[in-house]
Structure formats: C-alpha cells, structure tokens
C-alpha cells in the first residue's frame, strides 16, 4: 500500500464504472495506469464493478454518473469497510463530478433530498438553483492548490463541466483552482474543486487527467510517496500530443459561444 518501493505493484482501481461511468471518467484510470507503466512501473488497473467487495488499491478513481446510481454508489461504499480502511492507510482518491460530490458530507438526489456522502473531503453539495452548468471549464490553480514535487504550481486546468449542484468547501478542504471560464463549484466563490491530504475532487470531465497530464503525474507521485511526505517526482514523458490538445482547448475557450449562452440565459447563481 502506497509504498515508496517502485518495484512494488502499483494498483489503480476505478470505483464502480458500472454505476459511475457515464461521463467517460473511466479514462482517468487508464491515463494513470499507462503513465505509470510507460515509466516502467508494474501497474494493475482494476475496473471495480459494484456488487462485490472493493479491492485494495493505491489509487482510486470515482467518476461522474446519474443521480440514482450516485446514491447507490455512496450507499455501497459506506457499507463496504474496505474503502474506509484504504483511506486510513493513505490511498489516493480522485473524484469527478458525482464522484467528487459523494466524497463530501452530503449530496442531493434528483429531488434535492440530501444523502450522506463518505465524508473524506470537507465539502457539502446542495441542489443548485440556476441552470445546469454545461460547457468548457477553465481554471487556474490557487496558492492553496497541491504543489508539484518541484514546489511549482500546476498549470491551468482544462475540462468540460456538466452538473447542476453546487459544492461548498468546509474549513478542512482547500480549493484546487479559481474559475477563469465556467462555473466550477458554483457556490459563489468562483472556486473549482477541492482537496485535502491525498483526496482530490473536481468537476472537470474530459477526462480531467487526459486534458491535464501534470495532475495525473501529481496523483501518481502521491501514490508512490509515504503518506504525509511530498509527492515523488517522476521522469517526464513525451506529452506533445496532450500539450497540443491543451493548447487547442485553451485557445477554443474564447470561441465556445453555445456553452456560454446556455449559462448566460439563466443568469448567474
């Protein structure tokens, strides 16, 4: 578990792709696994479907999904003690959208009724009043954001958001980024995402790690480091195709009229 021994097997689990695999976020697991194996690490990628015990992993990814399956996933994870144990042992967790919301204290169902989350991230999500936030999301990391092994900040975060709830950060969670374009957490503070220790949540689809490989490497660096210590620095990869994609996406944000119109029509929250 989460050892610094780079000869040990690195295990990455995508939690409940059968329930929370609606928005392509399963790709995050693939990105992590490939980037580890391209660096010569023994890597195992597990698609951990619901209905059976959660496997032990160094790094968990939870993706976005529909309201009903989100409630089911939270119930199943609360009932399965292995997730809590993994947290105690310092496993790294990436939650996206519905997966981000259920890492918090509570999240709403379709009718706005709150459901208990896992409480591993100090955030609370409630039904949003405004229109659904749909479109390209661009955010620049804040000074509070997790640092790269070099001590530097992550580059701009890019992705696509598609959600209606709003997420409020508690004292123990820090924002990952400040929204440049889009809605993000949507609670009025212009923040996007939240993190504490080795748990990070975001509204970015894309998948987020395909669009932001530096974040992928940071999560891998956490998983390879002992809990509490700085992330392990990884040798760089040839990411020219991803850099090109990032460049194109960042340039496009000024052009994504339709998404902006959707948001403007309903006014700001």
């Amino acid at each position: 578990m989460s050892s610094v021994d780079r000869n040990a097997m690195l295990t990455i689990a995508v939690i409940f792709p059968d329930l929370l695999g609606t928005y392509g976020d399963g790709g995050n697991g693939l990105v992590l696994a490939r980037r580890a194996s391209w660096r010569g690490m023994d890597t195992e990628l597990i698609q951990a479907d619901s209905g059976r015990p959660l496997p032990t992993a160094d790094l968990y990814c939870i993706g976005g999904g529909e309201d009903g399956p989100q409630v089911r996933a939270a119930e199943a994870l609360r009932a399965d003690r292995s997730f809590g144990r993994a947290m105690e042992q310092g496993s790294v967790v990436l939650g996206v959208c519905a997966g981000y919301q259920l890492l918090g204290h509570s999240f709403p169902d379709r009718d706005g009724r709150p459901h208990d989350g896992l409480g591993v991230l100090d955030v609370t999500t409630a039904k949003g009043g405004g229109p659904r936030a749909v479109g390209e999301l661009l955010a620049s990391v804040t000074a509070d954001a997790p640092r790269l092994p070099s001590g530097r900040l992550l580059p701009l975060l890019t992705g696509f958001e598609n959600h209606s709830a709003r997420t409020t950060l508690g004292q123990d969670a820090k924002a990952v980024a400040r929204v440049v374009r889009g809605v993000g957490n949507g609670a009025g503070d212009r923040t996007e995402g939240a993190w504490s220790d080795r748990v990070l949540g975001t509204y970015l689809h894309g998948p987020v790690l395909a669009r932001n490989p530096a974040l992928a490497d940071l999560l891998l660096g956490w998983a390879l480091a002992t809990p509490g210590s700085a992330p392990v620095a990884l040798e760089p990869l040839d990411d020219r195709d991803q850099e090109e994609l990032r460049g194109e996406r960042l340039a496009s944000v000024g052009r994504t009229r339709p998404a902006l119109l959707i948001r403007r029509r309903g006014g700001r929250r």
């Binding site: 792709p17 609606t22 392509g24 309201d67 195709d241 994609l245």
Partner: protein, 495 residues
C-alpha cells in the same frame, strides 16, 4: 418505394391549409436556393402558423413511430420500405433524419391521409409526437448515453418514455393505444415499455450494456446471463479486453455457437424467446417473453418459424434493426393483422423487402476515390462505435485502414469525454488516421489505447493519406471512414 406524394392533397381546415402551403413553398424555395432539402425550415414555418398542424396532418392516418438512441434512421427506412412494398402503397417518411415535429410535418404535408407515415422520432420528443399523431405502432430500439451535454441522461429519458407509453389516453388524436414493438434485450427499453398496454417484445440484442447495470425501476443491480445467448456473431460479451468496462466472467456457451442454426430452437431458446437473459437482483424486472428474437443471422418467431436475415446492410446491429422493422411492419399493415398465421406471414414478407435496403442516407455506402473503395460509416456514441467495431471485425481484415473523424458541434455534443468509453483498443494493428475538428482529443485517446495514429487536419486529405499509407502493403484494401454526426455529413457532402 418511398415517395412524397404531392398529387392529391388532403382537405384541410383553412388555417392548416395555409400552414401546409407555407411548408411546401418554403421547402421548394429552400431547395431552389441550394440550402438542403429544407424540410426543417418548412416544417417550422408551418407549425408557427398552425401549432396543431401535426395533429391535423396525422388525423385518420396510419402512423408508425421509430425511436431509440441508435438505429432510428435505418429502422425507419426499413419499415417504410416494407410497408410500401407489401401494400403497393405510397408511404411518407422523414427520411432525411429531421426527426422532430417540424420534420414530421414536412414529411406528411401534401399527401392524403390514406398515405401511411413512418416517422423517425428524436428520443426526447416521443411523448409529444405520440400525443399529436396517435400512432398505430411505436418502435422502441434502445437507450444509451449520447450527447450528455444536450440530451437528458438515460434514466430521465426512460422515465419520460414510460410516462408517454403509460398514458396513451392523452393522445390528441384519440383512438386505440398503439402496438408497441420493444427491444427486450435493453433493460431501459423494457422498463419504459412495460407501462404500455400491448407490447410486442422482440429479442433484438443489445451489445452495449454499460448504461443498464443499475435497474431503472428500483436502482438495484441488473445481472446479465449470457448462457446460451451467444449466436454466431455474439462475440460482444466475450470482448472484455478493451479499456472500457470488462465483461463479467465470460461464460463459454455450450455448443450453441451457431454451428447449426437449424437446431437453435433447442439449444439456446430458453434465453432467446423465453425469460432469462437479464434480471434485476432486487425488484425482479427481467427480460420479458418475446414474440420474435434474433438468433444469429435468423429471425425466430415464437410460433417456431424462422426467417433468414440475409440483408443488404452489414453488421449484426442491422439484423437487429431489421427484426424490429419486420415485426413493426406486420403490425402496421392493413387492418393490423395482430397475431397468428397472418402476422407470421407479414413478418416474413417484410424481411424480404427489408433485405433489399442497401444504403440509408449515405450510411454504409461505398464511394470510390483514386481507384480505392471508401466505406462511409456513421458512429455517434459509444454504443454506436462499439457496433461499428463489431462490423469491422466481421470483415475479418485488419489490413483495412480506418479514418476516424470526430467533431463536437452542437449536433454532436460539445463534450468529447465519451471517446474514452469507446473501445478504440480494438483497432490496434490497423493503419489509423485521426481527423475532424476534435482530432487532437482523438489522437490522445488513441495513444492511450495503444493505437498508433497519424493526425491529418482535413478529412478528405486523411482519406488520401490512408490510401497512400497502404498503397504498398494493401493496395486493394477498402478504406473504412468512421465519423460522428457532423463529421459524417461533412464527408458525405465532399466525396
């Protein structure tokens, strides 16, 4: 044949007549200006003049509606072809794929109410179009994720279908509730359709299951049992090696792998025709008993008759579409021969007519470029791409280069995350080119899928590059072009 009848006009109320004339005029104008077929523009103008125009046009007319995430356009064409051929009648249809009320209006304007209408319906419009047209037949193909930024999530759509199908009394047109032809292999469809009164369940198959694991009825877990459900082409369940969600412990089916279709009636029929196939662990929602089902390349009916689905369109998913269309044709025909020998004969006749469809709105068509055949294939969402990959595998030739083109315009959905749900890993070993507006997203996805690709900005140039790349290695290999909605339309207009 499908012909827009313009000769004998329907006698309409004044307002509707003015509106109908406006539709005809604006369509003619739009065509003259070279702005496409103009069906949507004309329909919109007509509906603006008379909001009840769809109701008026459908009144007293036999209407069949076809909806679902994938296969709508093809199944609509098949059903229209079968109806027209077996009755020697004109049939009107929105065959350009304009599948919202404006397109429906444009399809029916100018024809009398004796002319049946076969209408493709956008998934989100089923309730409204049912209410307005009082259809005789409703065909429900499948429901899976598609354009999540624009269209509702799958379960919301299933709920809306269920509401529409459960209250046929609301139809403006009145009359008896429609005969519903529904795919028993898709739990989302079954949940929605089981609210309807008269459902004719067809085991049409559904290779894509990733949206149906959570029961749409109770949220429980749906378990698929593939025992005995593997027809000759049923490789889907075993193909879990891709990056998407792996199949559950693949169950080697007994000898039923299609070696002897004639014996299929004993071998796998428990799963095909009867119950089984899938069920919810919690509430017991399960695959209903079918009146017809696809058994490999055969359409089997509950009365024991079997008809070859040796059709002109490629791919197992088109045999599924043909099965749905054939059953629907038999139910829509004449006075509606509902059951028994007449029905079986009607299905058989429909299959024969459907077999002759070779191309639908350019899909599956072959064009020639620099002496090489280019096959144009449309794939809009993960389920669609997966089905097209099955089709490529059926060809069995991995030397065929593929040109993949992805856009993310309004009609495609603006978010390309779905690319990561498509098992591109299955293309490994082929010469692959990435093109379209979002070729860079595609290139990153392919890199992580272990598929080497060349990025070419212009789609036609990408086809030329594919020809060049294989001029030495496979000079006779056809080029397969796979594009999502607008990428496909662009290519079709340019080749």
């Amino acid at each position: 044949m499908i012909v827009d009848s313009r000769s004998d006009r329907q006698v309409l109320p004044v307002r509707a007549a003015v509106a109908a004339e406006a539709v005809t005029m604006s369509n003619r104008l739009s065509r003259a200006l070279g702005r496409g077929s103009g069906t949507v523009v004309g329909g919109r103008i007509g509906l603006a003049i008379d909001p009840r125009l769809l109701v008026t046009l459908a009144e007293g007319r036999r209407v069949a509606l076809v909806t679902g995430t994938n296969g709508k356009t093809t199944t609509t064409r098949m059903l229209a072809t079968a109806l027209a051929a077996s009755e020697g009648l004109l049939v009107v249809s929105n065959h350009t794929g304009a599948n919202m009320p404006a397109g429906h209006v444009a399809a029916m304007v100018g024809s009398t109410r004796e002319v049946p209408a076969v209408l493709e319906v956008d998934e989100g419009y089923l309730g409204r179009v049912m209410a307005d047209t009082g259809p005789r037949t409703v065909v429900l193909l499948n429901l899976s994720r598609d354009q999540l930024d624009r269209i509702s999530e799958v379960r919301m759509l299933a709920d809306r279908w269920r509401e529409a199908l459960g209250s046929p009394g609301r139809t403006t047109a009145g009359g008896s509730p429609p005969a519903v032809v529904a795919n028993a292999d898709d739990p989302m469809v079954v949940y929605a359709a089981s609210a309807a009164a008269g459902v004719h369940w067809v085991g049409a198959g559904q290779a894509w299951r990733n949206d149906a694991v959570g029961c749409p009825s109770c949220g429980g877990r749906i378990v698929f049992d593939d025992t005995g459900r593997k027809g000759p082409d049923g490789a889907n369940g075993a193909d879990g090696a891709d990056g998407a969600i792996g199949a559950d412990g693949a169950d080697p089916a007994d000898g039923a792998d299609g070696s002897d279709p004639a014996d299929g009636a004993q071998a796998g029929q428990g799963g095909h025709g009867g119950h089984g196939g899938w069920s919810c662990e919690r509430c017991g929602l399960s695959r209903p008993r079918c009146v017809a089902w696809v058994d490999g390349s055969v359409l089997a009916l509950a009365d024991g008759s079997r008809y070859s689905l040796d059709i002109g369109l490629p791919g197992q998913f088109n045999r599924s579409n043909a099965a749905m269309a054939a059953v629907a044709a038999a139910l829509t025909e004449g006075e509606g021969a509902q059951d028994g020998l007449g029905w079986s004969r009607g299905v058989s006749r429909a299959v024969d007519h459907i077999a002759r469809v070779r191309e639908v709105a350019g899909r599956f068509s072959h064009v020639s470029r620099r002496g090489r055949a280019v096959r144009l294939l449309l794939a809009k969402n993960p389920a669609g791409w997966t089905a097209i990959f099955d089709l490529l595998d059926e060809g069995g030739q991995t030397c065929e280069p593929v040109v993949l083109s992805v856009n993310a315009r309004i009609a495609d959905g603006l978010d390309t995350s779905w690319l990561w749900d498509v098992p591109f890993e299955r293309l490994a070993g082929r010469v692959a080119l990435a093109t379209g507006d979002r070729r860079l997203d595609l290139a990153v996805r392919l890199r992580y899928a272990g598929v080497e690709c060349t990025v070419v900005a212009d789609p036609v140039a990408a086809i030329d590059r594919a020809i060049d790349c294989t001029q030495q290695t496979a000079p006779h290999a056809a080029i397969d072009f796979l594009g999502n909605y607008t990428a496909f339309a662009d290519m079709r207009s340019r080749l």
